[in-house]
Every structure is written in structure tokens, then in C-alpha cells.
Amino acid sequence: MAAKSGKLNEVVLQGNEACAKGALYAGCRFFAGYPITPSTEIIEMMSGEMQKAGGAFIQMEDEIGSACAIIGARWGGSKAMTATSGPGYTLMQEAIGFAAVTETPIVIVNVQRGGPSTGQPTLSSQQDIYQARYGSHGDYEIIVLAPSSVQEMYDFTIKAFELSEQFRTPVILLADEVVGHMREKITIRDGSKTIKAERQKYVVSPQADFFQGAFTTVEGQLHDEQGRRIGHIAHKSGEFIYNLNKKITDNVDVISDISTYCMEDADVAIVAYGSVARPSLNAVKHARGIKDARIAPKFKIVRDIMKRGIQKTIQTDYSHLKVGLVKVNTVWPFPEELLKQATERVDTVIVPEMNVGKYSREVERVLKDKNVVPMSKCGGDIHTPIEILDKIMEVTGLDEEVEINE
Amino acid sequence: MANITIDKACCKGCNICLSVCPKKIFAKSRQRNNYGTAMPAVENPDDCIVCRMCERMCPDGAINVEK
């Protein structure tokens, strides 16, 4: 058996592997999945590790079956997870709706790739940001976490299991190809954590696991606390829907989590989530002159050489920009209050994301009095720090170029 | 002799019992069940051989046969 529980180990892991490790540490003992690029490493690792850990693994016939099987397993008493990417995530939507209405705690990992449809199997995107929130039909609230590093792939997977049990709701880990496939040194723990599956007060469905003599009825129709259908009774159904949503909306402050960098004296804020938070952080570090051995060489940027055709390089000086970063960890429910507080003193907010500019709409809605600038990038390439800084210069009108002769 | 009861709250008046009983103990009646349809009446309980076919075949579990 594993050594003493909780002992810290430093290892180099890929994001997807870290996710699988995190799930095992969080006590996940059932995994059903279907291979899909770029999430395949999770199912690959789970196939062996899960059975070694005493859990059950099954490769299902499709993603629909995978999502259904984990719900079934959770009612059997096993903490359960599945992992997929865009097209598979689309197939899982009906099961996510079912898990939401029956208040089943499950974790679904979506390692995003470019879409629509088959799209870009091997490249990254953040195009599923709204599907993660609004994917299934009907009114429901959901918790979505967006990791931006391999360590966060590990930590957020554990957090996803905790939140799913606490709020009895499906939790989506919205990773993307960049964090899924990158390798970093991270700290992981030995053994396994026990996440208590306590009875929650604000839950409006039956909660007892199966085979405990509770005669639990898990009902996909709107239902009461005993699982009896109320779909045909308008006032009860309305109450159910409000309660189901309130469970999350009333607890936004408990769920919400953001990280801020250099926001104390910032004039401009970058609001980013997922892998895009990485170049955003580097942009902040560069503008602020914060030395980072790993990133420093990248900033000797030589621009416009080809265009100008002369042996002269132009290096832009960004040091006058007071940039800060707000990294959104729990993208849904939208952390309104935290974001308002964090961006209190800035006038301009840049929202870089790898889609046509979706999350920026939500930021715009909340930060009405600020200049919210979407910075969309599609095609699979992630933003570079310089692109982000250039955008800030463009928006703030503080473009100063310094000529340097080689 | 068997004691055959038909639950007024369960019966929906489908008349399956009329045809499955080998002794034709059930007969149509004008009495209404809670569902609003005509429920059968027990006519000759003395003939009952307690085969319990009616119990099994009543889709709504309305019939009970006690020996």
C-alpha cells in the first residue's frame, strides 16, 4: 500500500497525468471514459492506476455512456470522474443536465481543443467556456474551474471533488490542450484524501447513496425531496428550479476564487483564465521588470525586421505600464464581487482569451464603468506576452518606441 | 371458498380479470372505481380455485385473493 498519507513529493508530470493523480488522491474510485485527443493521457493513466488503487475502470462505448456510468457509480457510492475534449463534452451534455437536476456530485474534465465539430484535435482553445456553463438544456447552475498550470491541474482536480460533494453538483474542470500537454515540476501528495460526503441542507433531491435502505429515487424529472415527480405541478416545479439555482448563486462567495498579481498599484488589469493566464502573467512580470529566469530570454523581442528591411531593431519599452493580472480560477459561477473588488482602481481591463471573445462579455456586464477590451485569438496559438502588452499600449495610447541600433 | 377483494383505489377498469379467470368469477358491474371507470364485481367467489391468475394479471394490483 501507499506510504504515509499526505507526504509531499516533487515530480515532473504532464498536465493530464497530474489531473489523474489529483483524482486518485481525492478518492476518485471510478473512472469511465472514451479516448479523445487531447485528453487521452487521463484515461490512459486511469486505466491502470485506478485498478491498482482498488477502484473500477471501464472504457465505455462513447462519451454519453461514460458520463452516464459515472453518475451510476456515484450513486453506488464511488467518487467518479470522466475526462474528454470538445466533441465528447458535447455528447455528455444530457448527462450533465441529469447530474445537475438529480444533484449528483461528479467531476468532468474537458481538455479543450479547437472547434466547432472535429475542429482542431491537436491545438488549444477556450471556445467551450460558455458550453461549460450553458451546455445542457434548462436552467441550472454549475461550477467550472480553469487550471493554468500543471500544479493547478492537480490541485483543482482535488478541489473539484471537494466542491462537487459540498454542493452536490457536477463540477467541470475546464482545462485546455496547453495545460493538458505541458510538463512541469509539481508537488503531489502520497496516499489518498477522504472527502466527506455529508448531507447538505440546501439540496432539494434525495441524497442517500444506494443500498443503505433509504429507497432513494433518482429522478430526472423535477422532483421533491423524496424523489417523487413534481414536473406536472407548476408552483412546485418553479420552486424547485429556483432552489436548484440558489444552491450555487447564494454561495458564489464561498465558491469563487481568483488570484491577483501586482494589482495593488495597477492602472490596467488583465483578466485571464486557463492557459492564457500564463502569458498574461509573463506580460505583467515583463512590464514590471520582475526577473524570471525561465522567461527572461523570451523578451528580447526583435520586431518588424522583415517589414522595414533595415538592420535596425526596435525594442518597445513597456516599463511605464502599470499592469496587473486577475487570474480567474473558478470561471463559473462568475466571481462578480471578487472581480469588482480586485479591479476597483483600474480603468482599463483587457480580457485575452483563445476564442472570439466570450468571457469578456461577462466581464463587461459586471464592470460596466470600465473600459473592457476583449482580446480574442483564434487558431490554436496562445497569446504571447508581447501581444498582450502591445494591446495594452494600443488601448491606453501610451505607445512609446525606443530605437536601438544593433 | 375464497375471499376476493377488488381495491377501488387501484382498479382502472381494464377488464383483463374478466377474461383471465378460468372460472369466470368476475363480471361487469355499474360500480365506479376512483379512476372513474366501471370496475368488475365478484359474482361467484365459491367457484374460486385460488389459481391467483387474476392477482398476477391485474396490471394495477387491485385484486387480492385470500383463501
Binding site: F30, A32, Q51, G54, A56, I58, M60, E61, D62, I64, G65, S66, C68, A69, I71, G72, A73, R74, W75, G76, G77, S78, A80, A95, F98, F210, F211, G213, A214, F215, T216, T217, V218, E219, G220, Q221, R228 | D7, A9, C10, K12, G13, C14, N15, I16, S19, V20, Y35, T37, M53, E55, R56, M57, C58, P59, D60, G61, A62, I63, N64
Partner: protein
């Protein structure tokens, strides 16, 4: 009230939402009888999909998941893997099981995973108001085949038998004793048990499929149009055939293979073989 109702039915949920004369109630009682026979109530959980037949277990005093359309078997597989010591019974209909849930049926049968699937075949989509299902006979007029159905009906028993399901039987609602016995055998059997029940839908299928609206008369027809297939009889293909030479539908026990390895047995065997302690 039926004596078994006391033990097995949540009486506060009665009456059931089935139409008068619906075969689902007969199947509901047969399954209760089967559980009573095995005395295994505490070890059974039910999973069902969407459709009239999927409401059968919702009245049971058991742990029940009433899932999404077609997905019952997938849910049941997850539940079974999480609790291998328990018996999982799946109630599903012809459309639920073979149309939208066909993929899950294929793979569960192929795995020979220990589930007991009771497929209620009423030849129609009853809940949505009488549309063509995968089993609707050729020529039958339904709401979505107004000029008569042109598709060859699917044979679920043949399908799962060819894939490796290890217990396969077909009965009708006119044979409740045999049906109860069969469900009990299925629950007891280790492996994928598939029991197809030909059921009457007097409201939607009655007139168009059977030319008869009276539930009792449709059940008479089930007796008339079926013949008892005996396992190991002279005609080995009899169970697979849609109908025999006289145009009769075979019913009875088609396959009961106790030697076939069940999915979880194979998993445990493999893990033991490579030395993973559980």
C-alpha cells in the same frame, strides 16, 4: 390490493400513471414476484430509461435511478461496477433499448456484464403518442408511418444472443408465471440477462398493430401468435428466427449459458493474474 404491494410498492405514489390495461403493471408484479422468490429485495437496485415501461421501477420501495432516454444500461454498468456484490435490474422499452440506447445494449451484451435487462416490447412509442418504433411490424400504421411501416422490425433477442449475452428469454404479458420465473433466473444468473416481454399498449398500438383495442383480447392474440420454443430442440435456429414456418413468434428460454465468463469475473481474473491485490 395485491399482497406484494405492501412490501414492494410506495403506496403513496399510487395509482400508477399507466393507462388501463397496460402490460407494464403485469411486468411490475412479475418482477416483484421474482424478487420475492429469491428473497433478495435488499440487494436489488433498479435503473430505467425514458418511456412508459421505464416508470415500472419508480413505484418500487427500492433504490431507483430513472435516467435519460436510452441510457439506462450505461448508468447500470456504472452502478454495477461500483457495487459488484449487488443485483442491478434494468427496465427499458423497445425504443429506449434498441433505438436511442442501441449502442449501450450492444456493448453491455458483448461485455456480458452482470445486469438483468427487462425489455418491454409494446411495438410502439407509447408515451409520445404512438409513433413507429424499431419493432413495429411491417405494414402497421402509426403516427409516423401513416402509409404503413416499411422497415423490417428488429429482433432484440437475436441481437443480444449473437453478441454474447448469456441469458436470453422472451415471454409475453399473457405468461406472467413464466415471466416471473424468468426474471428470477435472470437476477440469479451471473452475466448479461436479457428478458424481452411482449406487452400490450391498448391505447397506441392496439388498433393499428393488433387490430384490437381490448387489452384482454390483445393478450389472447399473444397466446395465439406465439409458440413455446424449447431450448435444444430439433430446430436450433428457432430461437433466432423472427417467426417459425407457421408464422408464430418463438417465446421461452432461448439461451442460458452458465459457463460464459462475466465481465467483472474477467477483470478480477486479469488483475489476479498480473498480481494486483484488491
Amino acid at each position: 390490493m395485491n399482497k406484494l404491494y405492501e412490501k414492494y410498492i410506495k403506496k403513496e405514489s399510487l395509482p400508477t400513471l399507466f393507462c388501463p390495461g397496460c402490460g407494464n403493471g403485469i411486468i411490475q408484479i412479475a418482477a416483484m414476484e421474482a424478487m420475492e422468490k429469491l428473497n433478495c429485495k435488499d440487494d436489488v437496485a433498479c435503473v430505467s430509461g425514458i418511456g412508459c415501461s421505464s416508470w415500472i421501477p419508480c413505484y418500487y420501495k427500492l433504490d431507483v435511478i430513472h435516467t435519460m432516454h436510452g441510457r439506462a444500461i450505461a448508468f447500470a454498468e456504472g452502478l454495477k461496477l461500483a457495487r459488484p456484490d449487488k443485483k442491478i435490474m434494468v427496465f427499458t422499452g423497445d425504443g429506449d433499448c434498441m433505438a436511442i440506447g442501441g449502442n449501450h445494449l450492444l456493448h453491455a451484451a458483448q461485455r456480458n456484464i452482470d445486469l438483468t435487462v427487462v425489455m418491454v416490447n409494446n411495438y410502439i412509442y407509447g408515451m409520445t403518442g404512438g409513433q413507429k418504433s424499431p419493432t413495429t411490424p411491417i405494414g402497421a400504421q402509426t403516427k409516423t408511418s401513416p402509409f404503413g411501416c416499411i422497415d423490417e422490425p428488429m429482433n432484440a433477442c437475436k441481437l443480444v444472443m449473437s453478441l454474447g449475452a448469456s441469458y436470453v428469454a422472451r415471454w409475453t404479458t399473457a405468461h406472467p408465471v413464466q415471466l416471473a420465473k424468468s426474471i428470477a433466473e435472470g437476477l440469479d444468473h451471473k452475466g448479461f440477462s436479457f428478458i424481452e416481454v411482449l406487452s400490450q399498449c391498448p391505447v397506441q398500438a392496439g388498433k393499428n398493430v393488433w387490430g384490437e383495442k381490448e387489452p384482454a383480447k390483445i393478450m389472447e392474440k399473444y397466446k395465439e401468435y406465439t409458440y413455446l420454443y424449447k431450448m435444444g430442440s430439433a430446430d436450433p435456429t428457432g430461437a433466432m428466427a423472427e417467426r417459425n414456418a407457421d408464422g408464430l413468434i418463438p417465446i421461452g428460454l432461448f439461451k442460458h449459458d452458465d459457463d460464459a465468463k462475466e465481465y467483472l469475473e474477467r477483470v478480477e481474473e486479469k488483475l489476479a493474474e498480473i498480481g494486483i491485490a484488491r
